[in-house]
Structures are given as C-alpha cells and as structure tokens.
C-alpha cells in the first residue's frame, strides 16, 4: 500500500521515490508559511477531521495549521469530548465520522493499527498521526526534511537514534524512512528497551551510546515514554540520564558538524541535556517549523490521489 492507496498509514508502505516526492513537495509549500498572508486555496471545500484519541499538542497543532494554510475546513474530534470515552467501539465511531463525509481523517490513537482499521472501514483518506508504538510517518518525513535541509542529502549519512526505541513510533518510522533513502541508522537503547528483531529492518542495533554516536552526522534523541511503561525498564531516571542522556561530552564522538534532533516533547536532563537541546547544533525547533510544510505536502498529494481515484 503506497500513497496511491489514498492513505498515509506508515513509512513501511512507501517506497523511496514517494518519500522524495513528499519531501520535494514540502519544499514548495514551505515558502507559503513565510508569506504575510499564509494561506493558499488548494484544499478549499475539503473537510479534514482531526481525530485524536491520545493527547497531542504539537502534532495536532501542526496538522491544524497545515490544513488552515491550505484552506481546508477542519474539525477536531478528540477522545475526551467524544462518545469514544463513553465506550463506543472504534468501528461505530469510524462509521459516525464517515457519515459526515470527510475527505481526510488525521488520526492519533494509542493502538497500533487503528488507522489501518479506519482505512479498511471507510472512504476517507487516513493519515496516521501516530498509532501507539507503531508508526508516526509525518514525524519521520519532517525529520528527513530537516536532515536534508542541513545536510543536503540523506544517502550515506550516519544517523544515531538514541533512547526508548521499544516504545517509539518515531524510531520505527525513521528507521524505515532513513534506510530506504540510503542512510545508515544506528538504534541505541538499554537492552531492556530494544525490541527483538529490530535489525531485520536494516538498521544497526547497539546498547552502547558511545558506539552509536561515533562519527554520526545526525543524533536523534527519543523521549523516555514514562507513560507507556508497565514495568521498570531501567532502575531510575538518574541512572538512565547518566548512561544514555545525550550531553556535550557524549556528543564529541559525533562529527563536528552533526545536528541534534528530538521529536519532542523533551524530558530535559533525562534523554537530552538542556544545553545540548538549546545548543548551536540543535535543530529541534526547525523540526517543528518544517512539520507544517511536510503535512501540507502530504495533504496535497493525497488530495491528488483522491481526485485521480474519483
């Protein structure tokens, strides 16, 4: 299932060419956000439902901005305000949404596969805005966009992803995307947080952060997702920060021009030291800015696929 399916469910479903097409399209949309009037009529008359069944601030705001800048009508449907919290099944909620005939549903959900489920049971184009620890494709796309902006390419780069890989949809989508575009990805976690068989995705796997950072062009920190933890994967945050936190000392192993990324929200002083997050190598806020352009590109391209299918 690729973009031509009319959905963006995960990076796993895309090929390199489609990924590059999205990134190239995002470049043309980035300019709109620098204009005085930040709006184009591209998606006028189209309806987007932002269906967020898990808390999110930045992803949802970023999607909303992208939708507004493309002149789409958007509607927010969140867990706390919906009948979802009253025990309605996802299928019934999906049918209810579907009955309002939206063109797009942007979905955030705690369960892997929930967007796939929606895609199977309706006509709208589904954009996965994060499904549990599975995928977060637009995050990986905006990360790739940011890397390309700074490094001019992705092919041949060494990217270290350090942190809670086990519970990270960002890690999984990034591993898919960056390896498809020819980067060497090194995933680094404490052994308790390394999912089994991760290397079959084509990345290197280590539990030694120094090894991961050695010669890296990009260092990506991952949030320690405390809310997903059912049991202690490490003894204390203090010990975690000491062993795996990205700090100045550790960063010396990376290339001198390496950039530092983080999908946010950050636990300062845990997975990333405050001075690194705020330092000259950090591109964390650029990631946020780029998110809007990338999401505009995704909406635009999927709208095109819908028109083709219609």
């Amino acid at each position: 299932m690729s973009l031509s399916s009319g959905h963006l469910l995960g990076i796993a479903n895309l090929d390199a060419e489609e990924i590059v097409r999205i990134l190239d399209t995002a470049e043309t949309f980035a300019e709109i956000s620098t204009r005085e009037i930040k709006k184009v009529p591209t998606l006028r008359g189209r309806t987007v439902v932002n269906f967020f069944v898990e808390p999110s601030t930045r992803t949802r705001s970023s999607f909303e901005l992208a939708e507004k800048r493309l002149s789409a009508d958007s509607l927010n449907f969140s867990a706390s305000s919906s009948s979802f919290s009253k025990g309605e099944s996802l299928l019934d909620t999906a049918r209810t949404l579907e009955a309002m005939a939206p063109d797009f549903i942007v979905m955030r959900h705690s369960q892997p596969g929930a967007p796939h489920f929606l895609a199977r049971h309706g006509q709208a184009s589904i954009i996965n805005a994060g499904d549990g620890p599975h995928e977060h494709p637009t995050q990986a796309l905006l990360d790739a966009y940011t890397i390309r902006q700074h490094k001019g390419k992705i092919d041949g780069l060494r990217v270290a992803i350090v942190g809670d890989v086990r519970h990270s949809r960002v890690a999984l989508s990034n591993i898919h995307l960056l390896t498809k575009l020819g980067a060497t990805v090194v995933a680094c976690s404490p052994p308790t947080m390394l999912p089994r068989g991760l290397e079959t995705l084509g990345c290197e796997v280590t539990h030694r952060p120094d090894e991961a950072l050695e010669g890296a062009d990009v260092v990506m920190g991952l949030r320690v997702q405390l809310e997903r933890m059912t049991s202690g994967f490490f003894p204390s945050l203090r010990e975690y920060a000491r062993l795996y936190g990205i700090n100045r000392e550790r960063l010396r192993r990376a290339k001198s021009d390496a950039i530092v990324m983080h999908p946010g929200p950050m636990n300062r002083g845990v997975e990333i030291a405050g001075d690194v997050a705020d330092g000259e190598r950090s591109v964390i806020l650029e990631q946020v800015t780029n998110g809007v352009a990338v999401r505009m590109a995704v909406l635009y391209l999927l709208a095109g696929e819908r028109d083709k299918a219609a």
């Binding site: 099944s89 369960q111 596969g113 549990g132 599975h134 079959t200």
Partner: protein, 427 residues
C-alpha cells in the same frame, strides 16, 4: 436402527494395526464387524470405494461457549459444526460462564449435549475453583458427572504448588491435567509472537520463552509427582524438544498442536488481522517447522483445534483489543490432510492416530478405534476432494478464521455417531 455397511473403503484403524481394503458393519450403535466382503444382509450399504474409513475423529480442545456466552457458540451449533467437519466427539474447555468447576455445570453440559448435541461432548472440568488458580475444584464430583480431564485453560495454573497438587490429586481418577502454558508475568500483556513482526507492527510481543518455561515446569512436576500432564496447543520448537526429551525419560507428558500453529506463522497477522490473533500466538517459521518435525517423529500426540468462536463485533476492533482465538473445527481435517499427508510429512495411518486413538487414550475414553463392540463412531474421508474454506457457509455461530478462501485437498465426507449418519457432505 438399521444396520449400516461401509463397503470397499480403505479402513485405517491404527489401534488395531489395520490399514487396508475392508468393509465395516455397524449395528445397534456399535461396530459389529470389520472384514473382507461382508454380506450386506438387510443393511444400508454405502459404497466407500476410494474413501478412507476411520474411527470417529476426536477434537480434544474446543470451546462451545455454553453456558454463558451463547452469542459466540452453543452446544448445538458447536457440535453441528463438529459433525459437519468430520468430528464425532469433542472435549470442551471449562471457561464458560459460570466456569465448569462443579458437578452442576458439568451435568448441565452433558445434558444439553444429550438433548441438542450432534456429536459426543466430553467436558473438561476446571482445575481450580473459578479458574482462579487458588484451590482445587471438586474433581471427583465432576468426574462422576462426566468430566474427562481438568484444565484451567486460558488461565494457566500460575502457582507451581497448585499445579503439583492438581497433578497429585488427579491421579485418584486417572485423568490428565491439561495446561495452557503461559507465564503471564513474562507475557506482560503481549498480543502476538515477539519477534521481528511484532517489532515492525509496534505490537506488544508474547515471547516464546514464556511458553517454554511453563512447559518445562509442568514436565518437571509431572516427573516428580507421577501425574499426567497434557500440554495444550503447543506452539514452540523448544517446548516440543522438552516434551521429546521428557517422553524418552518416561515422564507422563502428552501434547497437542493446532492446525493453525503448523499452517501459519506470525506473518499472517499482516496488517493487524485480528483473525490471526490467538493464544498462544502464531510463532516464527522456525517454530512452525519444528512443530511439523515433532508431528512427524511422534513427539506430538494429537491435533486439536482450540476452536474459539468470537462474535464479529468482538473481533472487529483494534488488534490489541480483540479477544484471542479462532474457530478451527471445519478447517482442521482439510488442513491436516493437505499440509501433512499430501505434503509427505506423515502417513494416513499417523494422521488418523493423531485424531483418534491418541486423543481417546489421553482422555481415557473408549473411542478412537473400530474394535468390534465399541460405539459406531466413524469418520469417512475423501482424500482428494477439494475443500474451499468459506466463512459464509460455516456452521459455527462465529466466522473468525484466517483461512477464508483457502483451497485444500481432502476432507471428511461422512460423519457417523453411534451408527447414525450425522453429516453427509453430498446431502
């Protein structure tokens, strides 16, 4: 009841060492005679040329859902499904509502099966009261009412102490304790096999080692106590190796495997298909191959389905929210014939043994043979007839199968219970 003469079939009766052309005469609900050129007399004659005439197939692990979960299945629909699938007897797990942990529930099942059942139903009682794993249920009462084995089924006996007691106490009755081997702490909420597929899908993994640990524990306890432990739906290569070794040391351990575990791997989950979600989960290709090997070398005693009907509404949810289990009666025999016999893994004789005399011996029931004098339970198989899995025509109340659309070669054509034809595929 009229006499029934099954003529010119290839009779396969592993318990009696029979595999060859013969006629089988059924009379007054019993097997009367097996031999060459039996004269029909007044019997109805069924020509079984080109067909295999076998003792009635037994599925020693099903969930009939009655009492208490009748929207999924009932004793009536479940046994009708069994009859249509070629089974003459099933053993049903105790995880009903209420749990089958007392004489009254066992009797209710036995009576309902007598009134509405199409095939024989052998209840399996709970090991512990309420399947809570705390204290032993009243086994003697349940045995008197017809229970053939004990199991806490989906609630594995967590306490090694209780498992020890169950393996000791069950010896009074000479019945096995059937264990669903799952170390719940290690599984920690896992929903599919832990490995590269679960990692790719972001789904929580159910590691094979959580099964292996309990299988080995149960073997050690069986050896220590002299009790008989039966491992339900074994799904890993390691567990099969443990059982293989234990059998060499004469430990009283037996085991079953399901068709889905030898037919599929975790790749079948695809993009979150809840019809490929069961417990234990579909495992790796290495495990699948190891199970096939264990079927071939005799380590595995029985094929059982773990037929677990769930309503479509219950399965049509997010993967992690869906209940574990698939229906299995209708696909069991065709899958086994196609993937084991036609694929050259085992002989017909071994297949019949896995479905008849072995489960009968494990459960201590007088069945699974064509010995004259035993109940006339017979399954007739067409080795080459095409069977297309179609959930729209299933006799089960539920349709949760990952095999929809599969084309298989070989299936049952006639099911006879107590000398009466309960299913004829051509009618």
């Amino acid at each position: 009841m009229k006499q029934l003469l099954l003529k010119n079939g290839r009779v396969i009766d592993p318990a009696n060492g029979i595999d060859g052309q013969a006629d089988v005469l059924l009379e007054k609900g019993k097997v009367q005679k097996v031999g060459a050129r039996i004269s029909p007399g007044g019997a109805d004659v069924i020509d079984c040329k080109g067909l295999l005439v076998c003792p009635g197939f037994i599925d020693m692990h099903v969930h009939l859902r009655e009492p208490g979960q009748e929207w999924k299945e009932t004793i009536e629909t479940g046994t009708r499904c069994a009859a249509h699938s070629g089974f003459t007897a099933v053993a049903c797990m105790p995880n009903t509502t209420p749990v089958n942990d007392s004489r009254s529930v066992t009797e209710l099942i036995v009576n309902a099966a007598r009134e509405r059942g199409m095939v024989r139903v052998h209840p399996i009682g709970a090991v512990s009261k309420g399947q809570k794993g705390e204290e032993l249920a009243e086994m003697s009462d349940m045995v008197d009412a017809g229970a053939v084995a004990f199991s806490d089924d989906g609630h594995p006996v967590r306490s090694s102490l209780l498992m020890r007691k169950a393996l000791e106490y069950s010896q009074i009755f000479g019945v096995p304790v059937i264990d669903h081997c799952e170390d719940r702490e290690l599984v920690d909420g896992g929903v599919m096999n832990e490995g590269d597929v679960s990692t790719r899908l972001g789904l929580k993994g159910w590691p094979s080692v959580a099964e292996d640990i309990l299988v080995q524990r149960d073997i050690l306890l069986a050896e220590y106590t002299g009790g008989h432990v039966h491992i339900a739906h074994m799904s890993t290569g390691k567990a099969a190796e443990f059982v293989r070794r234990a059998k060499k040391q004469k430990v009283k351990v037996t085991c079953e495997v399901t068709p889905h575990h030898f037919a599929l791997t975790d790749e079948a989950v695809g993009e979150f298909d809840t019809d490929a979600k069961m417990n234990p989960p579909l495992r790796s290709e290495a495990d699948r191959k190891a199970l096939i090997k264990a079927i071939a070398d005799g380590t595995i005693d029985a094929i059982a389905t773990d037929h677990a009907p769930h309503h479509p509404d219950e399965k049509c949810v997010e993967f992690a929210c869906a209940p574990f289990g698939i229906i299995g009666l209708e696909t069991a025999i065709p899958l086994s014939i196609d993937l084991l016999v036609h694929a050259g893994v085992i002989s017909w004789d071994r297949l019949v043994e896995l479905f008849t005399v072995n489960p009968a011996r494990i459960l201590g029931i007088e069945a699974g043979t064509l010995t004259p004098g035993v109940a006339a339970d017979v399954t007739v198989i067409d080795p080459d007839r095409e069977f297309v899995v179609d959930k729209s025509t299933t006799e089960s109340k539920s349709v949760n199968t990952p095999f929809h659309g599969w084309k298989l070669r070989g299936c049952s054509v006639l099911t006879i219970v107590g000398g009466r034809i309960v299913h004829n595929r051509d009618e």
